[in-house]
Amino acid sequence: MVWGPAAIRPQRQTDYRFFPSTTPIVIDNGSSHFRIGWAGESDPRITFRNIVQRPRHRSTGETVTMVGDQDPALMKYFDCTRSSCRSPFDSNVVYQFDTMEYILDYGFERLGVDGSEVDHPILMTECVYNPVSSRCRMSELLFETYGVPSIAFGVDSAFSYKYNQHHGFCNEDGFTICTGLSASHVIPFVSGEPVFGACCRTNVGGYNITEYLRQLLSLKYPYHMSNITFEKSEDLKTEHCYVALNYAEELQLFQDGTRKAEEKYRYWQLPWIPPPQEEMPSEEEIARKAALREKQGQRLREMAAAKKISKIAELEKELNGLDFLLRQLENVEEGDIPSFLSDTKYHSKQEVASAVGKVSQILRKAKGEPAEVEDSYEPSLEEKYPLINIPDNMLTPDQLKEKKKQIFMKTTTEGRLRAKQRHIDEKLQRDRENEQEEEKRIENPELYLEKLHAKYKEISEKLGQRKRMKLNGNGGNGNNNTPGSVGRGERLNAAQKERMRLLTTAAYDRGKGEDTFGAKDEDWQLYKLMSKDNDDDERDLDEAELSRITLRLQTIDPNFAAISDALSTDPPRFQPHTADDFKIVLGVERFRCPEILFQPCMVGFSQAGLDEMIGVSLRRLDTKNTDLKDRICNSILVTGGGCLFPGICPRLEVGIRPQLRFLSPLKVTLASNPTLDAWRGAALCAASSQFHIQTFTKHDYYEKGEDWVRQYQFKYDLATSEPV
């Protein structure tokens, strides 16, 4: 069963006219594939997927019809946006006959029909107990549109069983388990004839398995959803899926993550182009860059030096000028000084002197000489603030003002000194603590490390807890990304909620009854809660402690990795994609998907699985004959395209065994070719000499009416009993 390009475009057959009009055309109208060929031949001439698509041709704009799989390279000429693949089947019953007509058109056309009508009897497969309206419409379609002389209908899995019986793979009495695209059947056979009254159907088939796989993978890898198509899932299914002999044990194997399970993983690497790697610069490049930097630095240094020199020169000039002024001033009389200085910006000799001091100091600084120690001795408090200790009543108002200023100055200086002292003390304390810790570490490094780790964990958990509390007031971390459900209440954390509650009760209580608030001291504590969130200080402390421990751990434990963010709900930080991000892992899925055949409840069907169906069918057979039951169970044939999984037969044996009598025989065999055997069996039946009495003509159809069509039953044994 290949759905890829290998199966596309069957050639139009050229030998149609060599077949006499009595040779029946055999059609296996399966819900996944349509097979058409000639009776008596070993293989169908034409096989294609039973789908139709009607896209718009881009250049001409007309809607065209295409049947089966198409070459994806040629699909660029068509616009498929408004049409998807259509199947004539709903479950396993044909319901869209205009789609069916396209498929039959294509099938007959490929078979090479060239007359004015299809003048061959037709044997077509259908599902078990096909609803009579579907059967009638199919007959009408064949009679009216194609002019088919006569038709016979049969069940595909029965044909498959007959074919295998003919080749000795199974006995006259037996079972067939047939898993199709959309349903699975179990049909018992008694003396070579199927007992449809005792058959049963579960609506799970290959399609469900593929769809389950596709959905599981696209949920597991939402980013690659576009890559996980139905066709790709089909390929993955046929290539990798298998049936577990014991599902629970197999699951346990994977859950434990044993080596055995690791070997069972399969990987599908999606196309991935690594981002361009930044090339490490060569050594020459590094050297060249360093040289360039050095050169630039040199130039900057030179510029700075030149600037410094020019500044020094300027300052020296100014100093010289001031010196000159000072010397001149010595010669000037006291009274003339103001008039002498009127040209300059100075008013007195002192000012000039102080300017000289200032400039010379700046000059010294510029030249890089140590600044002259100005205040070599600390003036005592009395000297600095002479007015403080004098009583107020002995001072003038100006002095009082001065005194206030001095007091202020004194307190601030003292405060600064105290803070400095405290800082030093704290540092000493920390150093002492560090030393103690270091001692502890040296004493017993392992214990110390363990303790540190424990503490780290404790604090980080505490912080994580608080974060969660903040995110969701009621304790648990909820799925709070449901849009629309986040109201005002849910946006506040617990502490904030409490505060809101207090505020509202306080507002409502006012003026109600006797007010006893304040009678007890604890009442006032309420305001503390009301005033502001005081949660943050504690958290800050914890965070500081956490960062300290993290730092310490990082220095002494080389294989320590901070896990602080693992708890948070932040989205993962951006990381460049690696090949691993484009890898699709098939682990449990490999046997989880086919398991739905045995446990349909996994995909929401309440019906029994394949193994249990045998028991149901045996009960429906309604026979007391245990010998017959034993014979039937000794020849169970597994067929149909949906059962092509390794391990299906042993699993079926394991599942069926408990439903049978103790020590009764049981044999499960796989059909020689589960997908083709239905057509082959039908071709075998159609080639028998008894075939023509099983068909009905257009005349019969309209004469006998619907009830007769309902009763119509193909006799399989009749057709295959004679040697071919």
Binding site: S59, T65, S116, N479, Q599
Partner: protein, 125 residues
Amino acid sequence: MEPDVAKAEMILPNVLPFKRVQRTSEKHIKGQPKTKHWKHLKQIIQAENFQDYPSDQSNYVNIETPPSMYPPKKYCDITGFQTTYIDPKTNLRFANTDVFKQSRHLPEEMVQKYLSLRNAAVVLR
């Protein structure tokens, strides 16, 4: 028509010589409702009136397998492992704490998709 399209014979001709009744060109007239000339399987079954026939006579509906006799096993929705835990908030089944955490971070849409896999999703009508 492009030469390689014609060569691949991928397009079904509208007129085929072997057909008695050729397909009429079905141009849909704008404004008129599209005529649906087929029934879904459910409607087909309803039209069959199986209830009018004796109950011991088999038909398409009553050959269906009855519900399983075994109690359905419960599996983790995400990993597929066997489990008994159910998250009351999302209704997802989970195997261990890691899966639980993961399930809590799933968007609602994904949760519903997981649930619909086993036909347990909330259906709004």
